[in-house]
Amino acid sequence: MEGDLAMKVMTMVQAINNALDIKFQEDPTIVTYGEDVGVEGGVFRVTEGLQKKYGVNRVFDSPLAESAIVGSAVGMAANGLKPIVELQFCGFVYPSYNQMISHVARFHNRSRGRYKMQMVIRFPYGGGINALEHHSESMETIYGHIPGIKVVIPSTPYDAKGLLISAIESEDPIIFMEPKRIYRAIKQEVPEEKYSIPLGKAKVLQQGTDLTLIAWGAMIREAQKAMVMAKKDGISIELIDLRSIYPIDRQTIIESVKKTGRVVIVHEEPLTFGTGAELTAIINEEAFLNLEAPVSRVAGFDTIVPLPKGEPHYIISPEKIYYHILKTMKF
């Protein structure tokens, strides 16, 4: 499919910008706003150029208030707009959490389907960029745990574009978490035209027979580095990019686990109650008899993410993933 289209090398930032551009052209009910989103084009330049192209009524700066950014999107969606809001950093989402959990997630249910909350809430997340406090957290679980919201995390520019287009088109509210560590670190050929990737589907990035490695976001790259290490031990690994925190693609995972019988899950967010716990439960429910070792989780500690000088201790290294792979193989 990719071969037939005009391609352009893009970073994830550019791919997201491109997805927004395509949807803005197509659909005049789409607006986007947030702190520094308009004139500046976002602190990470994700919305750069859009205000010039589509005007201040569609692309604009909001006052500094996350609760109002998300809460106002509820009203817009109720009257037929499709807001895409940007929250500046993962650590500053929380003032809006009340609106997410009390309204965004519930309007459809509360109104028995009368009001759809067609919106996308985007924000950068994750560690590894030597940032100040509150700029490095990964907390996908607290969003995945809200009934009524779907949570998407891309790991490549290609996926970011295709998934964002689907997210914008989804009639359910989507939280779109962007792994800022790889915002510009990965460049990839991306079709210039519109394409979409279905939500809720994991992607098998590499086939393997000995062990299933599940990761997402910036951890995919680290997992791939660990796979290079494991290769010399002759371990055949199947790498799955989860891509959707909720809903979870049970089928892809279970098919893989039935084949390999061994699983390592990698996530930046803290271990306890993390997405890995949910994945482990699913695997227990559906592939218990296929398991040859306990499911192993490589995760953030149950601590506050340290400031930059302490972050190297916290951040998940390829070696640590490799260590868990070996332990799981030797079990």
């Binding site: 702190e35 520094d36 004139v39 500046e40 602190v43 700066d61 006052p63 500094l64 208030a65 996350e66 609760s67 109002a68 650590g91 500053f92 929380y94 003032p95 030597n130 940032a131 100040l132 406090e133 509150h134 271990l271 306890t272 500690f301 149950d302 601590t303 506050i304 340290p306 400031l307 930059p308 000088k309 302490g310 972050e311 201790h313 916290y314 070696e319 640590k320 260590y323």
Partner: protein, 380 residues
């Protein structure tokens, strides 16, 4: 119209604070004692400060600026991470430094270096923080100061609680809490000021209105003519003051703290200033403001202004300033070097402060990680 807005509280306010009624924020008046040339325009409001104290205040502001500019260059050299420059805003911290007492509480945001130092924080600590150690925001030897707070406006709630606790314990202190103009848009701002007002908590809310929240100008944060006028809604006194005028800052903070200390409740102080530098070292202001504007605002610079006053009144000999600056630079360099040579961050420091009573689970995570590290040494 004004009459209807003024409730009981405000009437009392008027008696206590003549200055506040003279500079009524409804008229969008800004209180200023000296002009940009350092000439006193409001002699009756010139605060009583001894020449010695004044020279110290000036030198402290100059030291803070020296440190601030050097911090930016350390960051550019890759020796420090993201840093929020104070350049141009030094008289706000400078005023706080003159007025704050040891037992008063200071509730930081992240752009008031001079006030932290005045409270007893060391520059070494500040550098440590921006080099990436939590140790740098402990401010070990500073009395009654909270850690740096990054989530905008959230710290103001803590100020309200501190204020309540001061009343509860019958203490003689007040709380100074800082936030930016952008921060006044957050619900936390309204909630905190309202709480403090309802509780009559002794809190002086100081809004550093540097006219931008990153790229977003003040006009896009609010339709209010200024920040101070919002005080009417909470039934507390408010004033807009020239935040680049040390005398005006000292005068207002003195009055506000007297008022709060006497049990009348909180005060809202809008300190009008300009962020001459970038928002942080990762920001490029040319994207959202003009050189002309920057030059125009540079003429209001707080340090230049105070220097002009001091020199014109024969209080200070500016001819030795180069020497002074050289000395300051050396001192900044010394403290930076100490921070840079701080011991490596041990693994246990990641774990040991999340809880007072560390759960066994977490201990186990540390043990498991140490096992991994041992194994890692055997690799290759």
């Amino acid at each position: 119209m004004k009459q209807t807005v003024i409730n009981d509280h405000s009437v009392k306010t008027m008696n206590l604070l003549k200055l506040f009624s003279e500079y009524n924020p409804l008229d969008d008046k800004m209180f200023q004692v000296m002009d940009n040339e350092g000439r006193v325009q409001e002699p009756k409001y010139l605060p009583e400060i001894s020449n010695e104290r004044l020279i110290k205040a000036y030198k402290d502001m100059l030291f803070a600026r020296t440190a601030d500019l050097m911090a930016v260059s350390y960051q550019r050299q890759g020796r420090m991470y993201t840093y929020p420059p104070n350049f141009g805003q030094e008289a706000i911290s400078g005023g706080l430094a003159v007025v704050m007492r040891d037992e008063d509480w200071f509730v930081p945001a992240f752009r008031e270096l001079g006030a932290w130092l005045a409270k007893g924080a060391t520059l070494k600590e500040v550098f440590l923080y921006f080099i990436g150690y939590e140790d740098g925001t402990v401010f070990k030897n500073a009395k009654n100061i909270l850690p740096i707070s990054v989530p905008i406006a959230s710290q103001l709630q803590h100020a309200a609680g501190l204020g309540y606790s001061i009343r509860y314990k019958n203490e003689d202190s007040v709380v100074y809490a800082v936030v930016g103009d952008g921060g006044t848009s957050e619900g936390d701002f309204s909630e905190a000021v309202n709480f403090a007002a309802v509780w009559k908590a002794p809190v002086i809310f100081v809004v550093q209105n540097n006219q931008y929240a990153i790229s977003v100008p003040f006009k896009m944060q609010t339709r209010s003519v200024n920040v101070a006028v919002k005080s009417y809604a909470y039934g507390i006194p408010g004033i807009k003051v020239d935040g680049n005028d040390l005398f005006a800052m000292v005068k207002v903070l003195n009055e506000a703290s007297e008022y709060a200390r006497a049990g009348n409740g909180p005060v809202l102080v809008e300190a009008f200033t300009y962020r001459r530098g970038s928002h942080t070292t990762s920001d490029d202001p040319t994207k959202y403001r003009t050189k002309d504007e920057e030059e125009m605002m540079a003429a209001t610079d707080p340090i230049d202004r105070l220097r002009k006053y001091l020199v014109a009144n024969n209080i200070y000999d500016a001819s030795k300033e180069d020497e002074l600056l050289a000395q300051f630079k050396k001192e900044v360099e010394r403290q930076f070097n100490e921070a840079e040579n701080y011991p490596a961050y041990p693994l246990e420091n990641v774990f040991k402060y999340t809880y007072v009573d560390m759960p066994d689970d977490l201990k186990q995570q540390q043990i498991e990680h140490e096992k991994f590290l041992k194994w890692k040494e055997t690799l290759q």
